[in-house]
């Protein structure tokens, strides 16, 4: 069995894990990040992509509001490539809680969250999609963030500074000895081989899966899994983030994400984070609720739904002095008699850097490393690995820098063959069990209105041409890709998406017999 050595093993390649890898790498601490599937496979890839101003939490959690305000300001300055500083609105419509509205301004002031009252005509001028039954509106400093670019850029800089990472590395267990984790045993899901990692400290940054991973180490964390579904519209309906001005609840935020808008979310308790799926009922509930705020949500074309799991830590490391906020939980498992094991979970995308910093501080303290965190001042450089997640980059590059023999593989988002090759190169040879899904994650392939119906076929052909896949593998990958897209498509299948799905069914099954020929088994991947 192959053995790898590192000082710090980070489990989980979400925003926190990649952020921590960068944090440690910048401090000069050798680290290895191991991810079961792919970057942002969990909640980091299943959220609004909202950089909170803090105003949403002024009533429920003043400390979180302050954290969000501070971290939001930092990220806008340090990682501008990942952020679109859209600004935000908080609006209430007829029937919303007027007491809450009345107290909103003073609550914001208490947390020093900047807001500015707007007259209703001004609000509707700024965002014509808003309902004409508006009763209150405030401007806030929300922004949208591209979580994929963020994690990919974090990882890219970490790797640049000497960190290593592994994808498709499923944790199989720990070997413990004297209250310490000696070895972590992994299964390489691509090759099916086992390997082990020896590390001085193991950080559990697996988000909703933190409880399961901790259990493998003999530690216990009580986590409630709350699944939240979101809907993506084909168009960008507003220029700004629009929040419902009410106590935080379901379906009350619409976030622009490049060329689309993301609407959500719901909150459904589930038994396991692996069961997280958007449902038909949730899609209906979201629209029924949110259309009061933005009426076009009833008629607009939706592209897909998706879901993420929030890990709600029930007993957030009781008595742990370093747990700085109810928002995220940093747990030193010394208390569970596993001395070199740390869990970081919960929190928000907006505060990921802070979570990484606090975790890095704890890790360094345990290692005896005396290097300060510099992510508070050091800009996050843009990388070529993360750039293709940006909507609109495809067409701009195509017009400006097209090569003579290049062709477009994904029409919706204009991702060219050359871009796909660049994305594959950026995976450092870690193609995983589904190269097609990995390309989708790192680019706009499959994210447009066709949801992979056409581009899935074209990119698969391209993978065969380039020799990345052979035999039936490419078609199996296409099945996995299609299954993944379908999960998000099914809840929004009425009107135009249903027309699109009918076309895809006619093409895939009616014309190509794809449901018959290739093996339709589940690849186990949940990406």
């Amino acid at each position: 069995m192959k053995t790898m050595e590192t000082r710090v093993l980070i489990l989980g390649g979400g925003a926190t894990g990649t952020g921590l890898a960068r944090d440690l790498a910048l401090r000069g601490v050798d680290c290895l990040l191991a991810e079961r599937r792919d970057i942002n496979a969990g909640a980091s890839g299943g959220n609004h992509g909202l950089l909170h101003s803090g105003a949403r939490y002024v009533a429920s959690d003043a400390a979180a509001a302050v954290e969000c305000r501070e971290e939001g300001e930092l990220l806008k300055r340090l990682a501008p490539q990942c952020i679109e500083d859209t600004g935000g609105l908080f609006v209430a419509v007829e029937g919303d809680d007027e007491d809450y509205i009345a107290n909103f301004e003073s609550m914001c002031a208490a947390s020093a969250v900047p807001t500015r009252p707007l007259d209703l005509a001004e609000a509707r001028h700024l965002e014509p999609a808003l309902s004409d039954r508006l009763i209150a509106a405030y401007a806030a400093e929300d922004a949208s963030v591209d979580p994929f670019m963020l994690s990919l850029d974090n990882l890219a800089q970490a790797v640049d500074k000497g960190a290593r990472y592994l994808r498709n590395a499923k944790l199989a267990g720990f070997e413990r000895d004297n209250g310490r984790i000696r070895r972590s045993i992994f299964l390489d899901q691509t090759s099916g081989e086992r390997f082990e990692v020896e590390a001085e400290i193991v950080v559990n940054a697996t988000g909703a899966w933190a409880g399961m991973v901790a259990a493998l180490a003999g530690a216990h964390i009580d986590i409630l899994y709350s699944s939240g579904s979101l809907l993506v519209t084909q168009d960008r309906l507003t220029t700004r983030v629009v929040n419902r001005l009410r106590r935080a609840a379901d379906s009350d935020i619409l976030v622009p994400g490049g060329t689309v808008s993301v609407l959500g979310t719901t909150s459904v308790t589930i038994d396991s984070p692996d069961l997280c799926r958007p449902t038909v009922a949730e899609a209906d509930a979201i629209i029924d609720d949110a259309r009061a705020m933005i009426p076009v949500l009833e008629t607009t074309r939706y592209i897909r739904a998706y879901a993420g799991v929030r890990p709600l830590v029930l007993v957030a490391g009781a008595g742990d002095a370093r747990s700085v906020s109810r928002n995220f939980s940093l747990i030193d498992h010394e208390k569970d008699h596993v001395d070199n094991f740390v869990t970081i979970t919960g929190g928000k995308l907006t505060t990921y850097r802070l979570m990484a910093e606090r975790t890095g501080d704890l890790v360094c303290a345990k290692l005896g490393v005396d290097a300060p965190c510099i992510t508070r001042t050091e800009p996050l450089p843009a990388s070529t690995k993360g750039e293709w997640t940006e909507p609109g980059l495809g067409p701009r590059r195509w017009i400006g820098e097209r090569d003579g023999d290049d062709i477009i593989l994904c029409e919706c988002e204009m991702v060219s063959r050359k871009a796909v090759n660049q994305i594959i190169d950026g995976m450092d040879g870690q193609y995983g069990s589904s190269l097609l899904n990995s390309i989708g994650l790192r680019s706009r392939v499959g994210k447009g209105p066709c949801q992979g119906g056409f581009c899935g076929l074209r990119v698969t052909g391209h993978l065969y041409d380039e020799g990345y896949v052979s035999g039936l593998r490419g078609v199996h990958e296409m099945h996995a890709f299609t299954r993944r897209r379908w999960r998000g498509l099914r809840p929004v299948l009425w009107g135009l998406p249903l027309v699109q799905a009918d076309l895809q069914e006619a093409l895939y099954c009616g014309a190509l017999d794809l449901e018959l020929e290739a093996d339709v088994r589940d690849d186990g991947g949940d990406l």
């Binding site: 168009d235 060329t259 701009r396 017009i399 003579g404 209105p449 135009l496």
Partner: protein, 530 residues
Amino acid sequence: MDFLDIGLIFAAAVCAVFLTRRVTRWRTCPDGGSPFRKQGTAKAFLSVIKAIVPEILLLRRAARTGPLRWLAHCLVFYGFMGLLLFHAMASLVTVNLFSGYEPTLNPWQFLRDLLGGLVLIGLALMVARRVRDRRLRVLSRFQDWALLFVVGGIVGSGFLLEASKIISPAMFDSMVAEYGVYGGGPETTALKAAWADRFGVVFPSDRLVTPQRVERGLEINDESCTACHSDTASAFISKPLASALTPLAPAMNRSRADRVFWYAHILFCLVGLAALPYAKFLHPLTTPANLAARAGRRDLGRPGGAAARGLGMDACTRCGECSLHCSVAPSFAVLGNPDILPSEKLASLTAFRDGRLSGLGLERFAEGSRICTECLRCTDICPAGINLQDLWLASKPEAAASVPDPNQAVRAMTVAARSAICCRIEPEGLADRRESFWACVQCTTCTSVCPVVAVSDDPSRDLDLLPQQIMNLLRMGLKDEALGVRMVWSCTTCYKCQEHCPQDIRVADVLYELRNTAAARLRQAEGEEG
């Protein structure tokens, strides 16, 4: 030498001179090489022979433009050819083939009315078609109506001539004088009574007809007349016409209307002959010739020779089918330049070849040539089998050389330059409304059917972005990027994309709007600079 001979010689001379001019003009067509180059003469000849029955005798291609038009053509074609051969050219043809030929005997008398009747029905269908179809009515020119009028005139005057002869006592007298032996006695009176009663002659005296006279007259008729004169009733159109004219008969007979109609009939025929080389009048000759030469082929094939092209140009029947099927016809609706339509452009092409086109006419022709997308539809539908596509391919560069493209300067600019000028806020249009693109299912049909993309050697180099890509750009809200794209400026607004979109997206309208928007901004920018 009587009037007929002189007229005939004169008309034939006119016809010959202009026909020669027309055929020699074919040489002005650029020679793209012989269409038969590879086949060999024998094989080519065989294919021509094979084409004759379906293409010429059965008018197969006319059938493709609808049953009504096919029927009309068959009626006129067969009716008129029949009349021409056995009636007009009787002394050459019929007399030699049938020894007992007399124009007043059956079946000739009957046949003449039958064929004439068929022609008239066919003409009526043609007129009805031109009047009923609004688009065709707009396209119809003088020559179209003139040909219908002349052919109708020939046949119509023929019927009137025959009818006026039936009622004419003078005609009766001259025949009796020529053949009769009854020099004005009671037999003549009896014969008159019989002809007045049975055969429609209208004599001035109204007390002529008595039963005894009629009976006797019929006997005489049987003895002396039936050998070379059938019952006028077998002229089943002229006889009722004559009956209808009876109230006018005394006046007509006094003025020898039969002679008037004879002159009219002959004149119509001579006009027809003299006008034969004129425009559409020639198509009964050139269309079959062209169909035979094309031997039933409808594909593009190879470039035609000068003669083939010239023949094609002259084979146009101006039926207007090509224009009804033209893929850029909507541009005509917008721009109003008739030369966008193939049938009209072909007329202008003839003038262009003659060097008769200048000024506005030349500009229109050049614009029409430029807008043509070479989509092949006109060639495919042409009932005369004209290889229009080949004609346009040959004439396009010449037209472009005569009148340079006014948008050349805009087209030559770089994307960046155009975008830089165009990036200003515009009031909302189709391109700004996201709903415009909601329904797109990304099938790329719009690009796939686009003739501009099709004729480009490297579409993304020549056009930057293709129609569907522009739609996606706009869907993503990147309108300013779209304004600088060459495709927007190369679009011919042929509307094929829009017609074929399964999701009813107004692709062409959007492209058209983008161009207008960009042009307006360009003008504004120039104004500010100046």
